[in-house]
């Protein structure tokens, strides 16, 4: 309630312009020098098919094996164990950047894996909410929104590609489309925005267009002064705030490839271009196809290949933009999948999951947390993060408690959306 009351006092977006700077600006400066990308493997991924492999030993309860590959085939890259492809399917092409062998060989030194996270739910909506906000309850913003909140006055501070993107009005989520669309919007007065030779031909002359814009702003100010209904006042404030923010989409275009890719790779390209051009601070990316209730091995292998190809492409983009010391990437999913197959060769919902992280500030080649042979979470000592029978289960609350500290979410924002979990040094 206090949180809601507090937010009510905000008249429109751009909290940075309204709240005391100490509340929202991180200590490190007025311009963002840290960016966050969250990637949601939407539908509930199966860590045992990737970074928490188990093998095909028969379960003692008669439910069969956890996986359709032998435990002896489990592979490793540095300290990170990863699954082989199930013997029921053919893996991707050997040169695919999403092939497990290629992906882990290339990235293991920057990868942090946290296994055995208990999401305490197997509902998609609640799982996504918990994994990306740190709370099962409604009303808590996604971590990407918290990261962007200090820069809410930037036009595309938080780019959302769907999934859990609740922002608690801290920042306006921005949805994106292809490169051609950005060009159209970068030059709203151009008749031919996509043609560099004709781009300067406007619907209006420069002088006319300036007069229109000036008249529009003056009218909005007049309307606002005369308005007495609070809801409309708020809407006008929001409109004015957003209009008064320079949207330097032309700059973004300089960082975009000529042809924006499809799917996760395209989402990555737009997010990185927005980071590089100073328009965005965080983005949530979405990869679907993980809700494999039937034919799990084939469908999950396909989805994981696309996911890893996307992450690999993302990393290439990060390096191409020279942002490898500034972008942190967190990959997670709604929850996990059952440590046994159903009658349709599928796997259903399971509350235990894993996350991966890489990039700025992350010490790679590490695995924290674990599960037993039946993919049940094991407890950790909260001090040294080693397995400990008297320890605690890791939940998304711990992940977010630690992630917030790691990202520098300010104490005031943290207090506004409290997470009551032990502080674990998961990301440092």
């Amino acid at each position: 309630m206090k949180r809601r009351n507090f937010l009510k006092t905000l008249t429109g977006f751009g909290v940075a312009g309204i709240l005391p700077m100490s509340l929202v600006r991180p200590a490190f400066g007025a311009t963002p020098d840290r960016f966050l990308i969250t990637i949601s493997a939407t539908g509930g991924w199966d860590p045992t098919s990737l970074i928490d492999p188990k093998g095909d030993a028969q379960r003692s309860d008669g439910l069969g094996p956890v996986n359709n590959y032998s435990a002896s085939e489990i592979k490793s890259a540095g300290n990170i164990l990863y699954a082989p492809y199930p013997n029921t399917v053919e893996g991707p092409a050997g040169d695919s950047s999403g092939h497990f062998d290629n992906f882990f060989a290339k990235h293991y030194q920057r990868l942090l894996v946290i296994n055995g996270i208990d999401t305490q739910t197997n509902g998609h909506d609640s799982g996504r909410r918990f994994v990306w906000s740190g709370k099962l309850e409604e009303g808590y913003p996604t971590i990407a929104a918290l990261a962007a909140a200090p820069y809410a006055d930037q036009p595309m501070a938080f780019i959302s590609n769907g999934g859990y993107d609740f922002t608690a009005s801290l920042v306006a989520p921005v949805r994106t489309s292809g490169a051609a669309t950005f060009t159209q919007l970068a030059y709203p007065n151009s008749q031919f925005p996509g043609d560099p030779d004709l781009q300067g031909l406007g619907f209006f002359s420069t002088a006319s267009y300036s007069a229109i814009q000036q008249a529009r702003e003056q009218r909005l100010t007049r309307l606002r002064v005369a308005e007495s209904l609070p809801k409309r006042q708020r809407q006008m404030d929001q409109l004015q705030t957003v209009r008064n923010t320079d949207v330097e989409l032309q700059t973004l275009l300089n960082y975009l490839p000529d042809e924006v890719s499809d799917g996760l790779q395209g989402q990555a390209e737009i997010a990185l271009a927005a980071f590089a051009s100073g328009l965005a601070v965080s983005a949530n990316l979405n990869a679907g196809g993980f809700d494999t209730h039937g034919d799990h091995d084939a469908d999950h292998t396909n989805s994981l290949t696309q996911l890893l190809e996307g992450i690999d492409h993302l990393w290439d983009q990060i390096e191409a933009q020279g942002l490898q010391d500034k972008v942190t990437v967190v990959v997670g999913s709604d929850f996990g999948r059952t440590p046994f197959y159903n009658e349709g060769d599928g796997k259903d919902h399971w509350n235990i999951t894993s996350i991966m992280a890489m990039g700025a500030g992350i010490t790679g080649n590490r695995v924290i947390g674990a599960t037993d042979e039946n993919f049940e979470a094991l407890t950790l000592n909260p001090s040294n993060l080693q397995l400990d029978n008297n320890g605690i289960f890791i939940t998304p609350q711990h992940i977010h408690r630690s992630l917030r500290d790691f990202l520098g979410v300010t104490a005031e924002l943290d207090k506004l959306f409290p997470i009551g979990a032990e502080k674990l040094d998961l990301f440092g």
Partner: protein, 831 residues
């Protein structure tokens, strides 16, 4: 009897003080209460003197003495809450509510004409402990309701005392029925029927009276645009002008028979049920057809695997797919259109088909379509008996027990299940959509940071942490037992015995109704008053643009509670009218449109600013609504240059605000009903850029195009010609009159000719004109910008005999500037 004499003297003097003091005595509750130093006793019976309503003001906290603050005759209908003994001068109040606690008080009238407390014992109402332990966590200590429970204040859903007692005994608490029966149920029922009865009419009156309502004419414009995607006709405006609110009501009745209205209704419901996820525009071209591909004639127009395809294969594929996908929303439309009770969306023993989907389902021959190629012709149908054998087993895909949306193939696939989920996802959706209960909100009771103990064989049956949800979820989930993960009817299969069996609200489904389990569930849902709450919530949210207010919580301010209580009362009134008219959705919509909450356009009293913080139906238009508004105001849609409009108008994907791939549907906050299911309701930087481009492009297309028509047929510029320049008084008057028309037409503003806004628009026109004329031959030409030139007829694409290319005196471009200015205005992009 000195006590009585002084008492009466004080009483008389207080009555003479007048209304300002007496107004403090207003209350509709029968229960005496103490709050902020004021002890209010709604009815004191004084033997031989009748009944009084008293208020006593605390004078001295240490001695607990009160002074008489007001006294008026009591409402005779109130239950006596106290007695005054003439012989003892003692005021006895058996029950006084102070916050959440209760006391029995005795006050002695002293020689100083003060009332002093001589006895105060803590007491309780029967049922209070039971209510607080079993009900208050969801309904609130004061009965205001919460995310999973309705308000009990003036309980609209409670019915009479016996009904409520039975309901408590058999259904409540949710997830643990049977916990409060017999005397407990009776006490709790009496407790909430007594304690939570509040006469809130003064609050409502005050709250509503603070609002300025938009005139009926403006209400009609707003309703026409929102409900029927068009402007009102002159005839309709005349009816409203002549007959006032009754006239508006009759025009609304007429609006609500138009196709565009039903499209809006389907859009509104899709925002919640999200079955448009299967439209070809939101995914692969045949997603819906693939879900029903086991029907022999699903792809009646040609085998998609075949290399040989007819010329119209793809158009048939898309039309048929979308017809199958739209079946659940068409059912809702059918019920609204025929003014059937909305419960029929669950109880209908039929589903909807058009000629295309009827062929796929194999029922075309039994139906009498007037035109087999008209995809807009929908009829109710029942599936023929047809058993299909597949690798997964035999499915009865015909002769099934239809139960409205619950047995819709699209609905069941949109909310799939699995062997472990066991239809619980479907159950959650049923509670959310049709009972207004968010079961996930119950999750907050789980202890933070601790995994739930699932060590028992069936924790969903025997672990209290689990039963909270599963006691509700699982009986409904089990009612879906005959419907498999692919949405097909597979009766007589064994069902799980380690979960709650089919039932609803504490009633087990009769065994003989096992094959028609969902029909039985639908009949139970239809009887539940929460279904009406759900319909009100869906419709109110759809029209107002936001969900009803949540209870503010324990630390909510008085203003927040007032806002919530006033809106709750309003929603109950809407529900009463909806129910009284046989659950006719049109009645509900009309009542919402006529209500002060929808018509609010300002505040008369700024002290109500917090109470009315969310009041009003102003909203950022969705991409679909903005798309339709443009068409209504300009006579064409925002697609591409008007020279190519005749081609692109037939390609839905080219509509700038409907296309989510090349254009702006997603950017502008639309949904695809799949990955993106929540609309953006507040603007961002990209959306503002869309607004700007929209205004520029549309001004470029619309203004020159308007000048092609005779003045009498123009939508935007009926009062001027291309040659009209502000060089004499008559022309200036004509230009201002046209600006006045543009403000009315585009923004709905009825302004006097000398209004400052008219002057501001005129100034823009004049400045652009003067600057432009001065620049011709230097930086400007005497022709229109390339894309603004008009060469072809927008409908036929044929070359115009007299193209419009020249703008030698810059007037067209000056009007374009005014049009762009207005079409990017707050009042254009919000409604």
């Amino acid at each position: 009897m000195p006590g009585l004499r002084s008492y009466t003297r004080i009483l008389i003097s207080l009555v003479l003080l007048g209304a300002s003091v007496l107004s403090h005595a207003q209350t509709g509750s029968s229960i005496p209460s103490y709050e902020d130093g004021l002890l209010t006793v709604p009815r004191v019976d004084v033997e031989g003197y009748g009944s009084l309503q008293l208020q006593l003001n605390l004078q001295d906290e240490s001695s607990l003495t009160f002074a008489l603050y007001s006294a008026v005759a009591a409402e005779p209908s109130l239950t006596p809450g106290a007695t005054y003994g003439l012989d003892t001068s003692i005021l006895s109040i058996p029950l006084v509510q102070a916050g959440t606690e209760f006391y029995a008080l005795q006050l002695q009238l002293t020689p100083q004409e003060l009332f002093q407390v001589i006895a105060a014992d803590v007491t309780k109402l029967p049922g209070q402990d039971e209510y607080n332990s079993q009900c208050a966590s969801c309904h609130g200590v004061n009965g205001q309701g919460g995310l999973v429970a309705v308000s009990l204040v003036n309980c609209a859903n409670c019915g009479d005392s016996n009904t409520l007692i039975n309901y408590i005994a058999n259904v409540m608490p949710l997830g643990a029925p049977g916990s409060c029966v017999d005397a407990c149920a009776e006490d709790v029922a009496n407790y909430l029927l007594t304690l939570f009865q509040v006469d809130d009419s003064p609050l409502i009156t005050q709250t509503v009276s603070a609002l300025q309502l938009m005139p009926l004419e403006d209400t009609l414009r707003k309703a026409s645009l929102q409900l029927a995607s068009r402007l009102p006709t002159d005839t309709e405006l005349g009816i409203v002008a002549t007959n006032g609110e009754a006239g508006l009501s009759s025009v609304l009745d007429s609006l609500m028979t138009e196709d565009t209205f039903y499209e809006r209704i389907m859009e509104m419901f899709n925002d919640l049920i999200l079955t448009d996820r299967y439209l070809s525009g939101n995914g692969l071209p045949a997603e819906a057809l693939n879900l029903m591909r086991i029907f022999p004639d699903a792809f009646w127009f040609g085998d998609p695997q075949s290399a040989e395809r007819s010329d119209d294969f793809f158009s048939n594929l898309v039309t048929t797919n979308d017809s199958v996908a739209r079946e659940p929303l068409q059912l809702i439309r059918f019920i609204v259109e025929n003014e059937l009770p909305m419960t029929e969306i669950l109880t209908a023993d039929y589903f909807m088909v058009n000629p295309y989907s009827a062929k796929s389902y194999g029922v075309f021959d039994e139906l009498s379509f007037q035109n087999e190629f008209d995809a807009n012709e929908w009829l109710p149908a029942q599936l023929n008996a047809l058993e299909i054998s597949t690798r997964q087993g035999s499915f009865l895909v015909g002769d099934i027990p239809h139960a409205g949306l619950l047995t819709s193939l699209m609905f069941l696939n949109r909310y799939p299940t699995s062997d472990t989920n066991r239809n619980r996802g479907r159950s959650r959706v049923v509670y959310d959509l049709f009972l207004d209960v968010d079961i996930l909100a119950l999750e907050g009771t789980r202890p933070d940071g601790e995994a739930v103990d699932i060590s028992s064989q069936a924790p969903t049956l025997d672990n209290d942490d689990c039963v909270v949800c599963h006691g509700l979820l699982d009986p409904v989930a089990s009612s879906f037992e005959n419907w498999n993960d692919r949405g097909f009817y597979v009766p007589n299969l064994p069902w799980y015995d380690d979960m709650f069996q089919a039932g609803f609200a504490g009633i087990d489904r009769p065994q003989d109704q096992e094959p028609t389990s969902l029909q039985w569930l639908a009949s139970q849902l239809a009887l539940d008053p929460r279904f009406d709450d759900a319909m009100v919530r869906i419709t109110y949210s759809g029209l107002v643009g936001r969900e009803p207010l949540d209870p503010p919580g324990e630390d909510g301010t008085e203003a927040e509670w007032n806002a919530y209580n006033a809106e709750s009362v309003h929603l109950d009134e809407l529900k009463d009218k909806f129910v009284a008219d046989n659950q006719n959705l049109k009645t509900l919509i009309k009542e919402i449109v006529l209500s002060p909450y929808w018509r609010a356009e300002g505040l008369d009293n700024t002290s109500f600013a917090i109470v009315h913080e969310e009041t009003g139906a102003a909203r950022l238009l969705s991409p679909e609504m903005l798309h339709r508004k443009i068409n209504a105001l300009l006579g064409f849609e925002w697609r591409s240059t008007l020279d190519f409009y005749s081609i692109t108008k037939d390609i839905n994907a080219q509509a700038r605000l409907l296309d989510d791939n090349q254009f702006y549907q997603q950017i502008y906050g639309g949904i695809d009903s799949f990955v993106v299911t929540e609309r953006l309701t507040e603007p961002n930087g990209l959306m503002v850029a869309v607004q700007e481009r929209m205004a520029n492009e549309l001004a470029c297309y619309a203004v020159p195009n308007d000048f092609l028509a005779p003045a009498s047929e123009r939508l935007l510029l009926p009062h001027v010609e291309i040659g009209t320049q502000p060089n004499n008084a008559s022309n200036i008057q004509a230009i201002k009159t046209n600006i006045q028309h543009l403000h009315a037409h585009l923004l709905g503003e009825q302004l006097a000719i000398d209004d400052a806004e008219i002057e501001a628009s005129y100034e823009l026109f004049s400045n652009v004109l003067a600057d432009g004329q001065a620049a011709i031959g230097i930086t400007e030409t005497g022709n229109l910008p390339n894309l603004c030139r008009r060469n072809r007829d927008i409908q036929t694409g044929e070359n115009l005999a007299q193209p419009l290319i020249a703008d030698s005196n810059y007037t067209i471009r000056a009007w374009m500037a005014v049009a762009a200015y207005l079409m990017s205005d707050y009042r254009f992009v919000y409604e």
